[in-house]
């Protein structure tokens, strides 16, 4: 089983930054690539939904919303063993939420293996971003004196960039349907994977910086960041099996549970839980969990899904 070339781009970025190369991509490129990925994933899901009777999607979406809130609670319970409440809560929010890029690499993995998956997985990606963020804020605030600016938080989360682009893409894809998408696919479909490769190069560069911050956080955080993904993946895979998903669907739901956010969550937590030290959650989420999922997790979860749905 050879590595997906897009993962090699991640390793290149990582190696370059660790060797202290001056390689640096312009901030505007990073922003552009993330806008592109979010829209492209949304469109793909929307087009697939358009082909589907969407009857069962609703309760499935409710189920995964509950699941990700639950995972955030579990993560908090574990993290509280060693971390202060704000840090535990903010980090738990990252792990209950999901990573768009990990999802993208996992779906590209499935494509390579010729395994299909249900279109609603993209809907799950969208709806699983938010609930854990709310859980995180509530946990941080319980027993603290400060009040929560709920208005600002709701706004931050519901109208945050990734939410708007994912859901907007879903809707446009749904309305345009396979016919309307034809003229858009040379960008959003054909270029998806190579654009992902550039994004992962950038991720490698940034991850290296966060890895450095890991040492300061100690062994507990590192272990948490390493062990949570496979455990959460099992929970996700079993849920997916229970929902009657296909092998690809089970694998992607496992990946979503195993993945942790590093785009939406850091921004939301920084504003809603200022007392939390962002170095803790980023070192875990970006420094350890993201590369683990990319290099080890994804093939593992695919094997798990195959086994469960055999």
């Amino acid at each position: 089983m050879t590595l997906d070339p897009v993962v090699l781009f991640f390793l290149l970025g990582l190696a370059a930054a660790l060797a202290r190369s001056d390689l640096k991509l312009p901030p505007a490129l990073y922003e552009t690539l993330s806008v592109f990925l979010l829209i492209a994933i949304g469109l793909k899901g929307g087009v697939a939904l358009a082909k589907l009777g969407s009857a069962t999607v609703l309760w499935q979406a409710l189920l995964v919303i509950g699941l990700s809130a639950l995972l955030a609670l579990v993560a908090f319970g574990v993290l509280r063993l060693r971390l202060a409440r704000p840090d535990a809560a903010a980090t738990a929010a990252h792990y209950g939420s999901v990573s768009v890029v990990t999802f993208a690499v996992a779906s590209s993995y499935l494509t390579r293996q010729g395994i299909s998956y249900e279109p609603q997985l993209t809907v799950f990606l969208a709806v699983m971003e938010m609930p854990a963020l709310i859980v995180g804020v509530v946990l941080a605030r319980l027993g603290a004196q400060g009040q929560v600016a709920w208005g600002r938080l709701a706004h931050e989360v519901l109208l945050g960039k990734s939410m708007v682009l994912l859901l907007g893409g879903l809707l446009i894809g749904y309305l345009a349907g396979p016919e309307g998408m034809k003229s858009l696919s040379p960008l959003y479909v054909d270029l998806f994977k190579p654009v992902l490769s550039l994004f992962l190069l950038e991720m490698g560069l940034v991850t290296a910086g966060k890895l450095a911050g890991l040492r300061a956080q100690g062994v507990f955080v590192a272990l948490f960041a390493l062990l949570t993904p496979p455990v959460f993946a099992v929970v996700g895979a079993l849920t997916g099996q229970g929902m009657g998903l296909s092998t690809g669907g089970v694998m992607l739901l496992a990946t979503l549970c195993a993945s942790s956010s590093y785009i939406a969550a850091p921004a939301a937590m920084r504003i809603a839980v200022p007392e939390a030290n962002p170095a803790v959650s980023l070192a875990a989420s970006l420094g350890v969990t993201f590369p683990f999922n990319l290099l080890v997790g994804i093939p593992l979860y695919a094997w798990l899904a195959r086994t469960l749905t055999a």
Binding site: E202, L205, V206, G209, G213, P266, R270, I271, P274, A279
Partner: protein, 100 residues
């Protein structure tokens, strides 16, 4: 040329705070503000400028002493304890004092 004496308040902080700070600045009586993207380093480590959570902004406000004091006080109580931030003031002379 006559220049009228005002204060220039400068804040360098995490870019995630831009929206809140602009709101604060307006509410506390400043008539304007200017924002530039920045990177840098300090007691909260290096902000390389690549990602939103890794980037800084620099906000400049020209205003009178009372407003500068109010904004600085707001920064001191609300943001300085938790965020990477520095705040400083200096003396400037402006052309049209009624604008500030």
């Amino acid at each position: 040329m006559t220049f009228h004496s005002k204060k220039l308040l400068t804040i360098v902080t995490e870019s995630v705070l831009e929206g809140q700070l602009v709101e604060d600045i307006r509410r506390l009586g400043a008539h304007g503000y200017t924002v530039c993207d920045a990177r840098g380093g300090g007691t909260h480590g290096v902000q390389g400028g690549a990602w939103s959570f890794d980037a800084n902004i620099r906000i400049d406000v020209v205003c009178d002493e009372a407003v500068a004091g109010a904004i600085a006080e707001r920064c001191r109580s609300r943001y300085l304890p938790h965020y990477g931030m520095i705040v400083y003031v200096s003396e400037v002379g402006v052309l049209r004092p009624e604008k500030f």
